[in-house]
């Protein structure tokens, strides 16, 4: 185990990642400005959630536009449990993950047996229905009035006055999602997903249980997304159905890996480091003087990226500076690997 690790560290990909990680850990010690820290937290937050989406959307190629549903279920389970039973938010987060996983399995199983855009449509509908339910059962969920989370600070309560603890939590989360994605990319499960993404019939004929693999990916992705929901709720300290289950969130989670590079472990991180600051800075520079212009520019940049870098930023890098590795891109699986799978 130590030899491959050592080799990995000698590779530029390895030491650059490690350097970046160390820089991020030291960052709050050097920079005290809360706005910059907030921006960094949001970057890592979207990197983690983009990574979670990437497992089902990128690796397995099942486009979901309803990840806000899992996000909201995670947040609401945790907050409601805390409100009614006083359950610790950290424990609530785990319970929320379990509930979300069950939801994800229930919604995915029937959809995955169908071909076509059913999964995408079902996820959008699912998020909408959940939002309406949360609004409807207002006696229990407080409806659209939302829930203000009591400001009891401390590690045990998952609430802090400073930004730095949030940064470390979200950094751990993003690193965790990255590692999970990295191992999926290298594992048999990852190859199964890539195979079914490229050609579902061929994958099945080679003995891949496609429905099961997709289901596994969906549940894993949903569980990770629910952690993000809890983090967001504890960070803003206020939840309400219109923002928790918003389509904006769903789209952003999908956009980050699409821009960075779908189906790769590093893609969502790169995507978020580009998209999130771009969005925030365009708004703070132009929002005051020319209302709405920032959205126009943001939209144009997105279109340009999609037209000129259909593989995402990572795809562009790999394509331009390919250095003769066996696996040219995230996309197809080389012949010899597929033979092993079979």
């Amino acid at each position: 185990m130590s030899r491959p690790l050592f080799q990995w560290l000698r590779h530029p990909k390895g030491y650059l990642s490690l350097l970046g990680l160390v820089a991020l850990i030291l960052f709050p010690l050097v920079v005290q400005n809360p706005f910059v820290l907030h921006l960094l937290i949001m970057i890592l937050f979207y990197a983690a959630l983009g990574g979670a989406w990437n497992i089902i959307g990128g690796f397995a190629g099942q486009l979901s536009l309803g990840h806000a549903a899992f996000f909201g279920v995670g947040a609401y389970s945790c907050i409601l449990l805390n409100l009614y039973t006083g359950l610790n938010p950290w424990v609530g987060m785990v319970v929320g993950m379990l509930i979300t996983s069950a939801f994800a399995a229930a919604i995915s199983y029937p959809c995955f047996r169908l071909r076509g855009p059913f999964f995408t449509l079902a996820t959008i509908a699912f998020a909408e229905v959940l939002r309406i339910l949360v609004i409807y059962f207002k006696g229990f969920t407080k409806g659209s009035v939302g829930i203000t989370i009591p400001q009891k600070m401390g590690l045990a309560n998952f609430a802090f006055r400073e930004k730095a603890p949030y940064l470390y939590i979200v950094l751990t989360f993003a690193a965790g999602v990255f590692l999970i994605s990295y191992f999926i990319q290298k594992s048999r499960f990852g190859y199964d997903l890539a195979a079914l993404r490229e050609d579902e019939d061929a994958a099945e004929s080679l003995g891949v249980n496609t429905t099961r693999s997709k289901l596994k990916a969906a549940v894993l992705s949903a569980a990770l997304t629910s952690i993000g929901g809890v983090f967001y709720a504890q960070y803003i300290l206020f939840i309400e159905p219109y923002s928790e289950f918003s389509l904006d969130f769903s789209i952003q989670f999908a956009l980050v890996p699409m821009i960075g590079g779908m189906g790769t472990a590093a893609g969502p991180i790169i995507g978020s480091f580009v998209l999130t600051p771009l969005q925030e800075l365009l708004r703070s520079w132009l929002g005051g003087s020319y209302a709405g212009l920032h959205l126009v520019i943001y939209g144009c940049i997105l279109m340009l990226v999609v037209i000129f870098m259909p593989q995402g930023i990572l795809g562009l890098i790999k394509g331009r500076f390919a250095y003769g590795e066996k696996r040219p891109s995230s996309g197809s699986i080389p012949q010899e690997d597929r033979a092993v799978e079979g």
Binding site: F273, L278, E280, G287, L295
Partner: protein, 421 residues
């Protein structure tokens, strides 16, 4: 090796952008106030309208020499939703170093931004968020000048008690009331307050129906109301749903003796343009409007309308700007008495504010609820007024000192209107 340079370069580019934005634009000889409103996105229209009211107050004060001998400057922030509000409040406070923030049109935006400001002990003057819960968090640096959502519901019922029931010769216990409201924070908080107050004062609440403002068909809601046969209908709606509901009410011939709207869509000229004469005789409980109101009740309202038109080229579009104008003028008064921009001094001066009713451009007085009050920091002297639509134009009809026209009751039936009543 070129390949390895691309990602770090990208990172350096992004990080340098961040640092560039972190350099505050400092100017010492002005007083800088942050304004946080939705200037883009779905809330932009009225968010912008409110900002304009604040801007009118700023320009007017600068003509008089500003405050504390310095000119006033606004630092604009665009917060289309709660997420952005957190980031923008953070930026205004830590990067732009403002000591006072004025905002923010919507309750959910105010929820997020005021929580940030409270953490940094920065004073917030809120003239838009009307949800009661906003000031029920025990915040020390938040001051709100506006009637609360519950005040709207209470006003609905008082209007029924004092004007509508006598006019219809009904007793409260015989009066059937239906309440409909759109299901976001705004509608829910107004609607539930109306239901609670109506029940407490002995009215018969025959229907309470929340609905989604984005709905494309409200006929089932209209049918439910038809079978409940209410005498009085209270509605809290945005613009499109108000138009849709009233059109379908006409198609399905739903007749009530009085219809009370609560601001939102029922107070907008756009709704009148879409509905034409069908909007006539609808009552609207709302904040004071900049036109068709008795100037004796709200001195300075005409001056506001004049200044607004001079600055932006056409008359004010709604009462939102007037409310922000009035609130920001109170802020200037508070800063003058605080004699500094220190948040503690401003807070103390704000708490000492004592402006009697009938002396401001909205007619409201100002007395902030003291610490320990359930609504700490809310202006206890701000009350909504009642308008009625005549010829697609709103006129203030109640209370009497603000009225410019006599209230017309009951609401004519659709047949009577078709005949041209």
């Amino acid at each position: 090796m070129k390949r390895n340079l691309f990602v770090p370069c990208l990172l350096i580019f992004c990080l340098s952008l961040i640092f560039l934005s972190a350099i505050p634009a400092l100017a010492e000889d002005v007083i800088r106030i942050g304004t946080l409103y939705p200037m883009s996105g779905p809330l932009a229209l009225l968010g912008n309208e409110e900002w304009r009211g604040a801007e009118v107050a700023r320009v007017a004060q600068n003509e008089k020499g500003g405050v504390l001998g310095k000119k006033i400057e606004f630092v604009k922030a665009d917060a289309p939703d709660a997420k952005a509000a957190t980031a923008e409040a953070e930026r205004l406070i830590t990067v732009e170093k403002v000591k006072v923030i004025v905002g923010s049109y919507s309750s959910s935006i105010a929820y997020a931004s005021t929580a940030v400001a409270e953490k940094y002990k920065v004073v917030c003057f809120e003239m838009g968020g009307i949800a009661d819960a906003l000031t029920q968090r025990g915040f020390n640096y938040l001051f709100r000048i506006s009637p609360l959502a519950s005040d709207f519901g209470i006003m609905d019922v008082e209007l029924c008690e004092k004007k509508i029931c006598p006019a219809l010769k009904l007793k409260p216990q015989d009066t059937k009331v239906a309440v409909i409201y759109e299901d976001t924070l705004y509608g829910t908080s107004v609607g539930t307050s109306a239901v609670k107050t109506a029940k407490a004062r002995g009215f018969r609440v025959v229907a309470e129906e929340p609905y989604n403002a984005k709905a494309v068909d409200l006929s089932s809601l209209v049918m439910k109301l038809k079978s409940a046969q209410p005498d009085i209908l209270m509605a809290t709606s945005y613009a499109n749903d108000a138009i849709l509901f009233w059109r379908q009410a006409r198609e399905l011939n739903l007749n009530v003796k009085a219809m009370i709207g609560n601001g939102g869509g029922h107070g907008l000229k756009d709704t009148a343009d879409a509905l034409g004469n069908d909007i006539n005789y609808i009552l609207n409980v709302d904040i004071t409007q900049p036109r068709n109101v008795n100037e004796k009740f709200c001195p300075g309202v005409k001056e506001f309308a004049r200044r607004y038109e001079k600055l932006f080229g056409y008359p004010p579009r709604s009462g939102h700007s007037l409310r922000a104008y009035m609130g920001v003028r109170v802020l200037w008064d508070v800063i003058k008495r605080a004699k500094s921009m220190d948040p503690e001094a401003i807070r103390k001066a704000a708490m000492e504010t004592d402006i009697p009713e009938g002396t401001t451009p909205t007619g409201w007085g100002v007395k902030f609820a003291p610490p320990g009050h359930p609504n700490q920091g809310t202006d206890l002297r701000a009350k909504p007024v009642v308008m009625q639509w005549f010829n697609q134009e709103q006129y203030t009809v109640w209370p009497a000192e603000a009225a410019v026209k006599e209230m017309v009751l009951p609401l004519p039936t659709w047949e009577e209107r078709a005949k041209g009543k």
